[in-house]
Amino acid sequence: MGIWPYLAAGWVLLVALYGLVTSHNLIHAIGCLAVAQSSTYLLLLAVGYRRGGTAPVYSDLTPGTRPVVDPVVQALALTDVVVGATVTALLLALTIQLRKRHHTVDPQALTGLKG
């Protein structure tokens, strides 16, 4: 497999950034940001993968009998998911207020400042 899983993560990131740059709808842009975030899950899990490894949970596995994947990056992926969810929630809240005050969710139409 070589470096292809890492490159896949980078590809997902660039696709998401393309969506962000060309977006005409803030909800769509927030979706793109979530895709960009998921590229980091891919990268983390690719870094932690061990060939033939199973989940690092020893409730039904005798320690030492099978290789396990890296639990540290899995814990980081959990943090990543939580942060992604909170960012999405706050951005959606901001979008609701924008829609109410400016009557548009197109970021390209949001040019004027309004107090």
């Binding site: 060309t22 061990r50 959990l78």
Partner: protein, 250 residues
């Protein structure tokens, strides 16, 4: 800036990112390498603390301080969303209407709500043994309550959702994480040190502070998520826009 210029600038930047990213990846350890020094140490540390789920051990024991930060982010988001989605002066409050639901949907919700609640508590309580924990179980718990909205209407959800109580529970759970940390400081000499008895490996009481912190996070995530969704749902269901003529479509 026109859309075309922006796209050209993006493509130039993307080419640079792609080049450097690929160069960086080529120096990473090969995919699936058997050599994971941190994994070996984390597994040894988890087994030494009799925590069967290594990921839970990393999150709530080895990296517990980071999880405190993560939990604070969640707490801050609930506060921020509460502030952003408060009712503005020019908005009117409209009482949610009772709605008709198909009897099968109602039956589905009535049966599934208690089952989902039990599953949520199970996932929180067994975080130190099997995949799951406070974050995952908390989300399941919050989802369970919203089955009332799917199977009945918004009024039923509001009756099931004591928001004041949940706000207090959210704050107390967030604070108790820090208190467990301070207890570690007093009893063991380090913040968030695992000072509780470690118990028997693969039993629900194993892992020392891991199940305690999991419970705190589970309560915080569940109550925080319900409060967060409450503000979004209030916006959609109960608030009318200041000027209806432009936004009457939704």
């Amino acid at each position: 800036m026109t859309a075309r210029t922006r796209l050209i600038m993006f493509l130039a930047a993307a080419a640079v990112i792609a080049g450097f990213f690929a160069a960086a990846c080529s120096r990473l350890p090969p995919f699936g390498t058997p050599d994971h020094p941190y994994a070996a140490r984390a597994v040894a540390a988890a087994l030494a603390h009799r925590t069967a789920n290594t990921v839970a051990s990393v999150n709530f024991d080895i990296r517990a301080f980071d999880t405190l930060g993560e939990e604070s982010i969640l707490f801050g988001t609930v506060l921020g969303a509460t502030l952003l989605l408060r009712r503005a002066r020019d908005e009117r409050h409209r009482r949610a209407e009772a709605e008709r639901v198909m009897p099968t949907t109602r039956l589905f919700g009535t049966l599934l709500l208690p089952v989902t609640l039990v599953v949520g508590v199970y996932i929180v309580a067994h975080g130190q043994l099997s995949p799951g924990g406070g974050f995952q179980g908390g989300v399941v718990l919050a989802t369970a309550l919203h089955l009332a909205y799917v199977a009945a209407d918004y009024r039923a959800l509001k009756r099931l959702r004591p928001l004041t109580f949940l706000d207090v529970a959210d704050s107390l759970a967030a604070a108790s994480f820090t208190l467990v940390g301070l207890a570690g400081l007093v009893a063991g000499g380090a913040f968030l040190e695992n000072v509780l008895p470690l118990g028997t490996f693969n039993q629900i009481t194993s892992g020392g502070t891991v199940p305690v912190l999991n419970a705190a996070v589970g309560i915080e995530v569940a109550s925080g998520l319900i409060a967060l969704l409450a503000h979004f749902l209030d916006q959609a269901v109960e608030l009318t826009d200041p000027d209806q003529h432009e936004t009457g479509g939704d």
